[in-house]
């Protein structure tokens, strides 16, 4: 099976979905559902300066979402074409992978994140997410699932 990608559509809707993902995550964090702050986590991998880390993290997060959206587009192609529910389904699968695998390996690859086994060190002080990200609040997995489902749904609904 060959999946044909509409590059301009992907570029546009991939970007829109990524911005929506970051926005919804920030709202969830602002409303106190979770302390997960992906821009800070991503940005602090490159700089210890919090303000710079947050700004850099937002840009990185949008670019990563944008890049990831190509996988969603291909995935929806394999599942029979883009629809909002197929997009949301892939989003849920993506979220599951983040919660189960991503959070577990993050302390190992993030240069400033502490590990639950060794504790903080002079260069590793950021609180690790823990299993399913619950260190950042019990609602964190829910927030990850919801935001990625929205990301996928936007892409599925509008990408043609």
């Amino acid at each position: 099976m060959i999946v044909v990608i509409q590059w301009t559509h992907w570029l546009f809707w991939g970007f829109v979905a990524s911005v929506a993902l970051v926005t919804v995550e920030t709202i969830g964090q602002g409303l106190g559902f979770t302390r997960l702050n992906l821009p800070l986590i991503l940005g602090s991998a490159f700089t210890p300066d919090r303000d710079h880390a947050r700004a850099l993290g937002v840009i990185l997060h949008i670019f990563m979402g944008w890049a990831f959206s190509i996988i969603y587009v291909i995935g929806m192609g394999f599942l029979g074409g883009p629809t909002w529910y197929r997009g949301a389904f892939i989003g849920l699968a993506h979220a599951l992978a983040i919660c189960v695998i991503g959070w577990q390996i993050l302390p190992g690859i993030h240069p400033r994140m502490a590990s639950e086994t060794h504790g903080p060190a002079a260069t590793r002080m950021l609180e690790p997410p823990g299993f399913m990200g619950v260190n950042y609040g019990i609602m964190t997995p829910v927030a990850v699932f919801v935001t990625h489902a929205i990301f996928g749904a936007i892409l599925g609904a509008f990408y043609r």
């Binding site: 964090q29 602002g30 106190g32 302390r35 997960l36 702050n37 800070l40 986590i41 602090s44 210890p48 300066d49 919090r50 400033r112 502490a114 590990s115 639950e116 086994t117 060794h118 504790g119 903080p120 060190a121 002079a122 002080m125 950021l126 609180e127 690790p128 997410p129 823990g130 260190n135 950042y136 609040g137 019990i138």
Partner: protein, 620 residues
């Protein structure tokens, strides 16, 4: 959150210590009170006016506290590391000497850029200096006034996490803390030379940054000491009372909210104006009334950045309600929350109700306008310019006073009684008009109708001179056509309305001393049906010394008066809102910025008089 079990209160009294037994640490965003007994009994995070994490000062069983002190009998002494807000408490026991150093770390900007550091941290370093000391620690946080469920987790390498709706606290330590039923306890024996660390961090919106303890915490402490010493070195006051003035400046800086430039009245709420009474208010907000005096103090000490930031905040953060100004705002210029009560809390020594929020915000208090305009005049004195937006704000505020000065209001003391024509409010309206003219004449403010303002200025003066002066009693009175005096009349000279050595002011001062005197150096703010059991008011005592320095008395009389008031500070040099006239104890919210501002301004005026006299002597 369940109340703390009684057996855990073994080493601390169920009654809160005297208010003066507390010392303050802070990071210019939040502040904590720590008792002589090593108990951190007050902390609101992440901001001054957020929900409390520790509030045992208001209710030992429900409020939460974090105690680190020897088990059993001890005596304690404490001090601030000179020119810093780092608190050092030493506990002498039969077996040895234990030192606890407490601070909320602050860092130099370059260090902050190079290191990932916690947003909020309380750092407690425990050191056994001599012999052997058995330690008893108890960690009992009670977030959001104890009104939310918490989940305790011990993550061995990371420390103890207390999670609650809207945030998480991480406590890390190299002491053996164990989670028990709703609290964590630590029982350990320390020997001479041992040094241990406890770090508490909180994160509201993001992953926490955890402390590494050891050398990392030592570096944080050194940064904090260095930051405060550098700040203190900017103090230009070199007079006779430098230590007292510097301590007041340092305490005042702790009440300054760095992100916005606002200054709060006090970091606490509901510490009573009468112990056992109901005059318990939340002071964790910004009173515009304190504006011009605070700005005068900051400029006078050489803290120009802080003064300008505060004026900026005054002019722009209050824009939601301009041209009307409210009595109080939050540190971000929002309306202060409506008053509500923690009904099940005991209050400080049974002083109930425990109030959160402040309804004074709704009162009409005309004096705040004069405060704001007079603060802005000081920009002129420090050769600053007023931008277009600020000029619009100043004109709007001036116009409001021009149209409303004749209304009765609540006045400076905020009684919850009907509005009256308060002399102090009229004085401040006069000052508002005078400030507008000075801003205009100094070239900082154009587009005002000078003649109209000048006419209002004279009209207010006439009203005060006629209606606030009681010929029979030979005194200015607190309200128009009244009989009684209040201490705010001393400000008639400070604000340039009436020379301090005029016969009217001298006889008013005598009357104030006779009727409001509360003991050596002490003054009540007023005496009437509303004030039975009230203590002497801190800032009023300093106003008296300042009045004498302004010319109401000799320089020596002013200094003597000033020294008398200084005797009532606590062992760390801190003042509360009031002073008990019999015991000299600190009463009310603590430490109180207004009182410390009064101390600084009185010292500055004394120094000014001294310098003037020296100049005159040289010239002669």
């Amino acid at each position: 959150m369940p109340p703390l079990q009684a057996e855990r209160l073994l080493y601390r009294s169920r009654v809160a210590p005297p208010i003066g037994d507390y010392g303050i640490i802070g990071d210019c965003r939040s502040a904590a009170l720590i008792s002589k007994g090593g108990s951190l009994d007050w902390l609101c995070w992440p901001w001054f006016d957020s929900g409390s994490i520790f509030a045992a000062i208001l209710d030992v069983e429900k409020g939460g506290f974090w105690r680190i002190a020897p088990a059993g009998e001890y005596s304690s002494t404490r001090r601030y590391i000179p020119e810093t807000n780092v608190l050092e408490t030493e506990f002498r026991t039969a077996g040895g000497l234990l030192r606890v150093t407490d601070c909320m770390p602050v860092y130099h900007a370059d260090y902050e850029k190079q290191h990932l550091i916690p947003d909020r941290e309380v750092l407690r370093i425990v050191e056994c200096v001599e012999g052997e000391v058995a330690l008893d620690g108890l960690y009992f946080p009670s977030p959001k006034y104890g009104r939310c469920a918490v989940r305790w987790r011990k993550k061995d390498a990371l420390g103890i996490r207390v999670e609650f709706k809207g945030g998480a606290l991480w406590m890390r330590s190299d002491l053996p803390w164990e989670i028990r039923d709703g609290h964590a306890a630590c029982n350990s024996v320390m020997r001479a030379g041992e040094r241990r660390y406890c770090s508490l961090v909180m994160m509201e919106h993001g992953p926490a940054v955890l402390s590494c303890l050891g050398s990392w915490s030592d570096a944080a402490l050194q940064q904090t000491i260095s930051w405060w010493k550098k700040w203190a070195s900017r103090c230009e006051y070199q007079g006779e009372f430098r230590d007292e003035v510097l301590r007041s400046a340092l305490a005042g800086k702790l009440l300054n909210f760095a992100p916005s430039g606002a200054t709060i009245a006090a970091p606490t709420m509901s510490l009573p104006e009468r112990v056992g009474g109901d005059l318990n208010w939340d002071y964790r907000y910004c009173w515009l009334r304190d504006a011009s005096m605070t700005v005068t103090a900051m400029f006078g000490l050489g803290y120009h950045d802080e003064a300008e930031a505060f004026i900026e905040w005054l002019l722009h953060s209050t824009n939601r309600t301009q041209p009307r100004l409210l009595v109080t705002y939050t540190v971000y210029g929002r309306l202060t929350p409506k008053e509500w009560e923690l009904n099940d809390w005991k209050g400080y020594r049974e002083s109930r109700p425990v109030r959160v929020g402040n309804d004074a915000r709704k009162q009409l208090q005309l004096d705040v306008y004069g405060e704001v305009l007079s603060a802005a005049v000081q920009l002129d004195e420090s050769n600053k310019r007023v931008d277009g937006t600020s000029a619009r704000v100043l004109r709007g505020v001036g116009k409001y006073v021009h149209n409303h000065w004749m209304l009765p209001d609540k006045g400076i003391w905020e009684p919850r009684t009907p509005n009256q024509h308060h002399t102090h409010s009229k004085l401040m309206c006069w000052l508002a008009m005078d400030s507008l003219l000075r801003l205009h004449d100094g070239g900082l403010l154009n587009k005002i109708n000078r003649d109209e303002i000048e006419q209002t200025l004279h009209e207010i003066r006439r009203e005060i001179e006629q209606k606030a002066w009681n010929e029979e009693r030979q005194t200015y009175t607190a309200i128009f056509e009244g009989e009684e005096v209040d201490a705010s009349l001393l400000l008639l000279s400070k604000h340039g309305f009436e020379p301090a050595d005029s016969s009217r002011m001298k006889s008013t001062y005598r009357r104030i001393r006779e009727e409001l005197g509360a003991g050596p150096g002490l003054l009540y703010r007023y005496r009437n049906d509303l004030s039975p059991g009230e203590s002497a008011f801190g800032i009023c005592c300093f106003w008296a010394a300042e009045y004498l320095a302004l010319g109401g008395g000799t320089l020596e009389e002013a200094k003597e008066e000033f020294r008398k008031v200084l005797r009532y500070r606590n062992d760390l040099g801190l003042f509360g809102e009031e002073i008990h006239p019999e015991t000299g104890e600190v009463i009310g919210n603590f430490p109180q910025g207004f009182t410390h501002v009064g101390l600084i301004n009185a010292a500055l005026t004394i120094a000014e008089r001294e310098a003037k006299m020296e100049q005159e002597a040289k010239a002669a």
